[in-house]
Structures are given as C-alpha cells and as structure tokens.
C-alpha cells in the first residue's frame, strides 16, 4: 500500500521584475511534473545533481513551498488542497531531516527546547514531565547522552547535531520522514553512523523514508526504490538492485559511471561515460527530452522535439526515454562519446 502518492506535481517559481509593481517575466521550472509513490515501510531514494529539483520536491510535499499544480496524496488526503491550519497539523505525521545539522537548529534554543517545540505545537504530552520523559527516551534512541538536554547546538559535533535533528523529527512519531541530504555535510566516518541509525530507527519504529541525496552510493545503500531526477522530472525509477544492475536511462548510466568507487580494481576496469557540457538552466529547459543536450545516445528524431513520458518497461523499470529498449539491446550506440577529453589533444 502506498503511503505517499505524487501525481504530476509541479513547482514553478515566478521570476519577477519591475520597479514599483512586480511583473512576472518567466518561471523557474524547479519541479515539472513528478509522479511517484512511496510504499509504507519502504525507503524511496531520490537522487540527482544540484539544480534537479529534488530538494524543492521534498519541501513541496510538506508544503514548505507552494505547489503550482498536481496532487500530493498522503494516506488518502490530498495535502496540496488542505487549508493552512490543517496542513500544519498534518505535519506531525510528515517530518523532515535537514542537510545542514547546525544551520537547521536554532542557535538560541537548548536541546530540550528544540525537542519540546514540536510536541507543544501538536499538543503531544499532557504536561512538561511527560514531554521530558519522551525527550529522554528519544535521546537515548538516537544515541545522545541524557545530559545533552540543557546544552546548546554549538556545543556538539556534526554527527551529534544530525542526531539532534533526527530526534526532533522522530519525537513526534511521524509516519513519513523526508531526509534531505541527511549525511552529505558529515565526515565520511560519521556518515556511516548516521546511515546505520536511520536504518535501525526505520526498523524499530516502522518508518517510511523519502531520502533525497546527490550521492548515488548513499541512496543505493539505504533505498528500496530509487528515482533519478534530471532538470525537474524523473527520468528513471526502479528497485535499487535492478537500477544498479541495469540502468536504462542514458543519464542514469552516465551518473553511475561517474560515481567513484573506493576500489582501484573497479576504478581501473570501468568505462566512463563522460557527459559534455553543463546542466541547462531550469528557467529555460530545452524542448523535447530535457537531457538531449548532453545525451551521448541522442538521436536525430524525437529527442529534441518530443518530451518522453515516464513509461514502464517489461522488466519493472520506469524510464523516460524514447529509445530505452534500443539502447539496452545495442541497436543504438554512443553517438557523442567522450567529447570532452577529445578537446584536450590540442
């Protein structure tokens, strides 16, 4: 059963200009038609590079940014249509863990006040004593010492701060936790601690995760299903192992071949698919397939004119590419391979 269903969600930010009265002169198509579903108890990983709209999508689900179009159905309720106050109350069930552990904690609040705030907002816990009991319990669960209560965020290390952020979300006993780059600001040796903690808590508390990250290795490690985003929309979605074994979308392939693996044998053996150029601006996305300007498999027909829809392939992949089957069986080969290094010879 799916706990969260997104149906053609769009978030367009107006670009405004004007001396006295603001005129809308264009839009940034941050999220441009994303449909996906997250099943209860699962982890859905959303991966993509900066500017692909993954963070905006995560915030749109919680309605921290305005949804331009589409439905966000959470446990049967369309959040996009809820009045503000109802949405606020719904946030008890949908929580968020942020990327920057220090920046996402109010520097003037001590840990007890940070953790009690959500409970106060949702009327959880009859009195201060009961709240404190819950806070002590959650602190122990995320592996923080009980004497942390009266201390302030700046007195903790990065990993501990992220544990505080996790405790703040979990003390409300939510159903869904959106983790926006939960480990990317942490040192390598600390990342594993936090990833393990997230997995452990999922198991013991029956949580559903939407993990948003740029690091494919992290996403693959923690997710059951992975969605790959490029320039505001999903280009591929598949179960984690399947996606790794057989990436179908050209962008997924390029992304996967670019992720460094800490193993010289693997690094020496692998073939890289180097993409040329940079991400186009989300304010002026290219027509047709959004990836066609950088795609090494680009074809003369369809790619530049027709926007591919996310369609289901026979093997359980959902992919937004006109030529996915032909690329998979080798009928279409690389067309613009390794253009970047070719320029070096001069």
């Amino acid at each position: 059963m799916s706990l969260l269903e997104l149906d053609d969600v769009k978030v367009h930010f107006p670009v405004k200009k004007g001396l006295v009265f603001d005129r809308t002169v264009g839009h940034v198509y941050a999220v441009d038609g994303v449909s996906l579903s997250v099943r209860a108890g699962q982890t859905y990983g959303l991966v993509g590079e900066s500017g692909c709209g993954k963070t905006t999508l995560g915030r749109a689900i919680l309605r921290l940014v305005d949804i331009t179009e589409g439905a966000v159905v959470f446990d049967g309720t369309d959040l996009a249509k809820l009045p503000d106050e109802e949405m606020r109350r719904h946030r008890q069930r949908l929580q968020m863990v942020f990327q920057d552990p220090l920046g996402s904690l109010n520097p003037r609040q001590n840990i007890e006040s940070i953790l009690a705030e959500g409970m106060a907002a949702h009327g959880i816990g009859a009195d201060a004593g009961e709240r404190r009991a819950r806070i002590t319990q959650i602190l122990a669960r995320v592996g923080l010492p009980a004497n942390a209560l009266s201390r302030y965020p700046h007195e903790f290390s990065g990993g501990q701060r992220q544990r505080i952020g996790i405790a703040r979300a979990l003390v409300l006993e939510p159903d869904l936790v959106i983790c926006d780059e939960p480990v990317s600001a942490l040192d390598v040796s600390i990342q594993a601690q936090v990833l393990n903690l997230l997995e452990e808590l999922q198991e013991s508390m029956g949580l559903t995760y939407l993990v948003i990250a740029h690091d494919l290795a992290v996403v693959r490690h923690i997710s059951d299903v992975i969605g790959v985003m490029y320039l505001g929309s999903l280009v591929e979605e598949a179960p984690s192992d399947l996606l790794y074994a057989e990436p179908r979308h050209p962008y997924t392939r390029a992304l996967m071949s670019a992720v460094p693996v800490p193993d010289p044998a693997v690094e020496d053996a692998r073939e890289r698919i180097l993409l040329t150029g940079d991400l186009p601006s989300p304010a002026a996305p290219p027509p047709g397939c959004r990836f066609h300007t950088r795609c090494p498999w680009k074809q003369e027909t369809r790619c530049a004119t027709e926007r591919p829809a996310l369609r289901e392939l026979a093997d359980g992949h959902r992919v937004a590419c006109h030529w996915a089957e032909e690329i998979a069986d080798g009928t279409i080969t690389l067309t613009a391979r390794e253009k970047a290094p070719a320029q070096l010879s001069g």
Partner: protein
C-alpha cells in the same frame, strides 16, 4: 631524488590565551616527477594546512612551521616571500575547492589568465590573448575566445574549475597541488575534471599532490596514498596495496564505513565510533585510540612509530595493526623516512 620531499613537517597555531594547537604533527612524504600522490583524511586532519604551508600561503603571524619541505633542493618553508612568489605559478601551482572565490569576480577570465602569462612568461598583447585562448581550449572550455571576455559568475562551477586549472597550468608547473578540487562539483562534472587532471599528468609529466577526503577519488587517481589522522600520517602505501589491505585501524574503518555503489543492497556499514573530537595527544599515545576497537594498553604509551607490519613499502603507524589474511607474523621493521 624526489621532486618534493616533505620531512617531519609540523604546523602550530598559536592559541589566543589558550594553549597552542598543533594542526600538523610531523608529516613526511615524497612526490616524484610525474607522480600522483594523495593526502587523504577527514576535516581537521591537517591536509589542507599542509598544502597551504607548501605554497607559502599561511599567514606569517601566529603560525610556527617546523621540519623541511624540499622542492628540487630548496626548502619551501624557509624561502623568502619574494622567491616564493616567483616559484608559485612557474614551478608550483595550486587549485582550490571553491572555484568561485578563487577567481576575482570583477575581472574577466581572459584578463586573469593573461595577467599570469605577463607576469611569469613575459607575454603581452595579442600573443598573450592567443595563448590564453589556447589554454582554455586545452582544459576543455568550448568557445574559448568568447569565454575570455566573460566574468567568473557567467561560468558554471565546472567551467570555473577548468578556468582555474588553465591558470594553474599556464606556466607548465612541475608540481600541481589540488585541494579538494571536485568537492564542490556535481558527480558528472567531477568525472570530467578528474579526467582532465589525469590527462595533464600523463601528457605533461606534471606531478600532482591530490588532497581529498574522498577515497573513491583516490582509488581512481593516486599512485601513492598517505592517510592522515589528527595531523600525522597513519598509513602510507601504494594505491592497490592500501585498498587491498588497509592496515591502520582508521584506514580500515574508513573503508568499511563508506557505502559502495557496487555493494549489494543491505550490506551493513561498519562505522567508526565517536568523532574527531574524541582524541588524545599524540605524545600520550595513538590519537585514534579512543575510537579504535583494537587499542591496547600499549597504544597509550607514547606515539606509535611508523612501521611496515606486513609488506615492504606499506607503512602503518599502529602497534596492533590489521593484518591481511595469510600475512606472516608482524615483522616490526622500523620504517625509514
């Protein structure tokens, strides 16, 4: 003779009212002509400070340097500022993590490149402009003559890093120091930049000192790897040797705690406990001991020496190292250098 030979480098920051902080505590390593050497470690291990010291970019006040860093026979640490400036750009060059703040925002890229050509190669006017365009082209910036007129903010992150690399290699330096050159970039752009750096090393014979926290980057690029922890080299080995048999518990733990793209889903990570703040003074024992699963009483009696516990050339600073399966009993040969 190695191109760069760092010997027992120490860097101490004078604490204001508090006790001094030793950021680098006796680091030694060599870089040969045309070699790629990695300095790996997490934040606070002293890797970036080391690179700044080598480039003579640390502030003079409040910083004490010790040891030697011989570049082609001259000690970089005691070189007068004027001679250091000449050396930078001609023989030594550096690229930084954040390409935007390393470029002057109000001066076009072209001017910034030609400035270097004028200062170090005496090129002027049309010749300098032509060479600048050629350099941009060489680092893979399309349409270089147009790009020369643009300002840094008009370029994407990847293009900026390419422009910085162009400036760094403008005078064909013999040693290039790269401090986390791809950390701020997206992974597909990172792949492009790493490929470019490899090309430079292969074609020009430039030596590259790569400073990074990313073991994946190290695995694909570096021939010799030095792992730093709390200001000391704790392990030093060839690339294959290090990844095949990480010997210091820290290096071993680090590799075990990284999620690997090619690992099956659900393979557990083995994190290192605690954080960099849980450390003891090297003078008292192994700084890593509080986070280590293998520490013994012996770890708490003074600095452990750099030894070769199982294979010649594979050094580790540990009294109770992780030995590869089938390795003979530890032959504690005192390492030289």
């Amino acid at each position: 003779m190695p191109l760069l030979s760092v010997d027992e480098l120490t860097i101490t920051f004078a604490g204001r009212g508090q006790r001094d902080a030793r950021a680098v505590d006796g680091v030694s390593f060599d870089v040969d002509q045309g070699q790629v050497v990695g300095l790996v470690g997490e934040s606070g291990c002293g890797k970036s400070v080391t690179s700044l010291a080598l480039m003579g970019l640390l502030p003079g006040r409040g910083v004490r340097l010790g040891g030697r860093a011989e570049f082609d026979g001259t000690d970089l640490l005691t070189l007068p500022a004027a001679r250091m400036r000449d050396l930078r750009g001609t023989q030594l060059a550096m690229i930084f993590q954040d390409p935007l703040s390393s470029l002057n925002p109000v001066v076009p890229i072209g001017v910034q490149v030609t400035e270097i050509l004028a200062r170090h190669r005496g090129m002027r006017g049309e010749a300098a402009r032509k060479e600048a365009a050629h350099l941009l082209d060489r680092v893979g910036i399309p349409d270089p003559t147009r790009r020369l007129k643009e300002y840094p903010h008009q370029l994407s992150g990847g293009m900026r890093q390419r422009a910085l690399i162009a400036m760094a290699v403008a005078c064909a330096p013999r040693l290039l120091i790269a401090d986390e050159p791809t950390t701020a970039l997206d992974v597909t752009i990172q792949a492009q930049i790493l490929e470019l750096l490899k090309e430079l090393v292969d074609q020009e014979g430039t030596a590259l000192l790569m400073i990074t926290h990313d073991l994946g980057v190290v695995a694909g690029l570096c021939e010799q790897v030095n792992v730093l922890y709390a200001g000391k080299v704790v392990e030093s080995a060839g690339r294959r040797a290090l990844f095949d048999a990480p010997t210091h518990p820290y290096a071993h733990g680090l590799l075990g705690s990284i999620p690997r793209l090619d690992a099956p889903r659900g393979e557990a990570l083995r994190p290192i406990r605690g954080s960099i703040n849980d450390r003891i003074d090297w003078a008292d024992g192994c700084a890593f001991a509080p986070r280590c699963d293998r520490y013994t009483m012996e770890c708490l009696t003074g600095t452990p020496a750099l030894t070769e516990p199982h294979t010649p050339g594979h050094q580790a600073r540990c009294v109770n190292p992780v030995l590869p399966e089938g390795a003979t009993s530890p032959q504690r040969t005192e390492a030289t250098g």
